[in-house]
Symmetry: C2
């Protein structure tokens, strides 16, 4: 005969109905060793079930959803973060950012999305370096300063920056063309007075990738896939809260249609135009048009 | 200078807050060509956002969730449906089944989960065939009848059946051992009086796969991964609603702890024990113990 092992005494109702199943599933998390895990899954189950009941989800729609998630999984890779994009286009990423950076005292620079293009293995460079990696484009000179909530300079801060080229593509999207080299990204450090600077090229607005499953949602919704032009920054400094943010330009046609909901008026900077013949901030006499941007980033004091 | 294209006039508020972002994301589905698509995404966004606000989801937890989904994607394959399993262990699969099969007139056999082990390419066999594929185990003789809601026999119905072996493993989980051959599954057809029958082996209760990301949830929750012993069936017949169901045994130690919430009292069958020396339903004199199961399945009339 078959051996039967009677493990555990916790039982549940069977013959569950559309109404009773939610509480029964939630009860199966009562034994979680971590209370936060229990709290998250009880809420997740409630809202997933409420969603399915509210729209009367059909079996065909459920199959479509499972197939969609499988396809998101298949296209995903370290340089193609389609689950991040899914979270981005549903506004979840920005919402989580807002939940965790609720403005506080209001003096700190606003945060926004990390996005899918941050790369850990970026080169560390000295202030003033050209980080364009030789990618052609209109020269951009960036001068930044990092201060704390009292306005004092933050020296030795880690400053990550990354951005697209003049066609709207990041280095990792053009591995073939760039022979796998990283470009338009770097890790810098603020000097004793909190300053940092680099030369690169002017980025451009661009569509989020629409050749994968998330593109289907964008097309089905009749939405614009465009993100306004921006520069990414990530700051880490002793005694301060980390900051992930972007700078946008005020005259961008997509500023108020950001496909991932990340644009903020408080992060609109002046991308100043300069003519050929003018002198760059680093003293270089320029023979072509270029742009300059200056910005002061204020970091919140570390909590606790 | 950079060319700027001003496409579309729909704009949204920027400077979104934790409270205003949900409606702004929902508005981006206003242009959906299909109203059902709009309805589903508006509700999905509402519940995803409500969940994140309710638990005050941290950035670290969001990263954990993205990483979890990426890992579910990586382990998934045509024979390892981890997204289906995720839906199953969160009770979503059974809920969707309940939403779409709410009992109706009550005369039809209850439906339950399809599960992750159905395989399209199963062999078609004659009634009475041995479908065990030579896998060793206690012989099982199944005799079924399919009737419509008025009790009249349904002839020529497609009958799919599939089940585990005596250790709780399906053929697709043992591709090495079975050299990729399918076993313990078949497509049969009912005869003129609605009968179908097959010989196989007695299945066993088993754990859902816990070596992937879903196993982490089961362990974190301190839940049992076990499913009670069952036989799967899927019926399709002209003039009738399709039916996906399972049969369970009443004395199963896991009947009231089903890890995927699919067990129903109405689907408990009698797995009758027989001694060596008795005669099988197909007339075979048996030299070893065996079991027999009989069941009548009632299909609902096709809607419209």
């Amino acid at each position: 005969m078959l051996r039967r092992r009677n493990e555990g005494s916790r039982t549940m109702s069977i013959d569950l109905t559309e109404e009773t199943i939610t509480a029964e599933v939630q009860k199966t998390f009562d034994g979680a060793a971590d209370e936060r895990t229990r709290e998250i899954f009880v809420s997740l189950v409630q809202h997933l079930h409420d969603f399915a009941r509210e729209v009367r989800l059909t079996s065909e729609e459920w199959f479509t959803a499972v197939d969609f998630l499988e396809r998101v999984g298949r296209i995903s890779s370290p340089t193609r973060q389609e689950f991040v994009l899914l979270s981005d286009i549903l506004g979840v990423s920005v919402l989580v950012d807002q939940i965790n950076h609720d403005g506080g005292a209001g003096s700190a620079t606003d945060s926004t999305l990390l996005g899918p293009f941050y790369v850990d293995g970026r080169p560390r460079v000295e202030n003033g370096s050209d980080i364009s990696g030789g990618v052609p484009g209109m020269p951009l000179f960036f001068t930044g300063r990092v201060v704390d909530s009292t306005g004092l300079p933050v020296s030795g801060a880690d400053v990550d920056t990354w951005h697209s080229d003049g066609e709207g593509f990041y280095d990792v999207q053009q591995a073939d063309k760039l022979h796998g080299e990283l470009a338009m990204r770097a890790l810098l450090h603020t000097d004793l007075d909190g300053w940092f600077s680099f030369r690169s090229i002017v980025p451009r607005y661009y569509p989020v990738p629409t050749d994968g499953p998330c593109g289907e949602i964008i097309r089905a919704a009749g939405r614009s896939p465009m993100r306004p032009e921006h520069l990414h920054f990530r700051f880490r400094a002793a005694g301060c809260e980390p900051l992930v943010t972007m700078l946008f330009r005020g005259d961008d046609p997509y500023l108020e249609q950001d496909a991932v909901f990340g644009a903020k008026r408080s992060l609109v900077a002046d991308f100043a135009d300069h003519e050929a013949g003018e002198t760059a901030p680093d003293g270089t006499p320029m023979t072509e048009p270029f742009q300059t941007v200056e910005w002061t980033f204020t970091l919140a004091s570390a909590r606790r």
